[in-house]
Amino acid sequence: MAILQLNDMSLFFGGIKANQNVSFTLQEGKLYGLIGPNGAGKSTIFNVITGIYKPTKGEVYLHGEKTLEFSPYQLAQKGIGRTFQNIRLFKELTVEQNVMTSFFSQSKTTFVQNLFRTKAFIEEEEKNRAKAHELLKFMGLLENAQDLAGSLPYGKQRKLEIARAMGLSPKLLLLDEPAAGLNPTETLELTNLIKELKEKHKLTVLLIEHDMRLVMQICEYIYVLDHGELISEGEPNFVQNDPKVVEAYLGVDE
């Protein structure tokens, strides 16, 4: 079943065409890759899907529902979790609190219950903390639960971003260059984590990444973007050998 569908989506900033007539469909439970040279418009697509930018033309459907009228926080509540290319953690909050912020929309207690610390509040808080710890344990961050997020090393910050996005219990997870700045060992570890997460939570994942080894290893289907347009799509083997993709990355042989 299609979870996300882009229909002839175009996004212009004045004269700059960030995305032009991009159409693709993501099927539930698969791992997709979105690749392309720098400035190809990959992150803009993420921003359109999460509702930060409204496309100039075209439509976006989530579970067959038009998403254009929804704000980013509503789309997040509907099950789109994402991470950022330039890490956007809540740096002055602890690791545990970072994950717990994403439970905000799911928790049911009212303001008065929170203020007077009723039984319902305490139970919910315990439950949320346990849930956060479970996610942190999975990402290997449990020992850092009480540290400030800003004090974590880079690799762990990347993982925390994923843990925080997972706190939304998303159906669609958008990962924006999760392996950027990681060393090969960390990248390998992350690759396995993403695979496991996907299997465990039956996620659909869309992944932007420049690390081709990672992409070719885990993605089941790949979309290639250049100058804001989709130039190729297919299984990793096909995309790797597509002359158009090679041209976009390496240029034409004179």
Binding site: I52, P72, Y73, R88, L93, T101, N114, F116, R117, A165
Partner: protein, 330 residues
Amino acid sequence: MNKTIQKLLIFFVIGLITNFILSSFGLNADALLFTKPDRFNGLISPYYYSILVLLGINIILSTSLCLINGFTGLFTMGHAGFMAIGAYTSAFVISKFFPTSPMLVQLMIGLLVGGSIAAISGFVIGFSSLRLSGDYLGMVTLGFSEIIRILILNIDAVGGARGMTEIPQFINIGTIIFLTLAITVLIKRIRDSKFGRAMLAVKENEMAANLMGINPLKIKVQAFVLSSFFAGVAGACFAHSEGYLSTQTFTFVKSFEIIAMNVIGGLGSLSGAMMGGAILTVLPEALRKVQDFTGVDLRMVLYSLTMILIMILKPQGLMGTKEMKWLSSN
């Protein structure tokens, strides 16, 4: 028993005992009913007594601003406006409709009405201006607070430029101590709840908060409403302890003073806000004593120097982002 209610009861008893010792010093109805005695025969002079009351009011103002400036990271310069609304509505309602009611009734109605009307205006102002951020929000809130002040200045029913006189005085040191402790603890509870986490998230990174399912505008308005409610309560306390109101009290200078309390204590720290409130209340009064030695009025010079020194030596504020133990999270 619920821990919060337990704590509030303890604060009530602390207030009652202090009130008993400081102002009445004799078992009379005033001490038990939490009301201001007509005549002082307590331990301290009326001068120190009024400084203590003002200290409490300033701490409430400072901690309430902490919700907006410290936790949600918004820069507002109009806190005195909300205080003015609380002060004038409470004073008006009490002297118009409940002038002869028992003091306890006056107290409850006054604080509730003052706080609620301030909260409502906080909602209106917040909702219309919170799409702005940074310095622009500061300018707009400054404008709103001046509008509020000028409006009040032109309402004859509350005395206009002459000021409002003969306001029933029923706020005493016990009430103030109770309210200061209670409001501080409530604000701490808000900070440690999911709403507080959301506020801090919005402050740290608004876009990330948005994409984690938190509506930033709603959280900001919430912080604004809560903060202006407490500011309104502080205003009501001010009105009913002084007995006299003039719009001159609520100029933007007062707003800046409240911001200074937060900055000196450490932005984002509740203990810092309390400490800043205490310092900025006590320091100018303590410096009056210095004048006895110097002969000339160096009060404001020394006051400014102290503040500059604090900012040079401790640019992150006295507490930084640390908290005292009873105010630290969990």
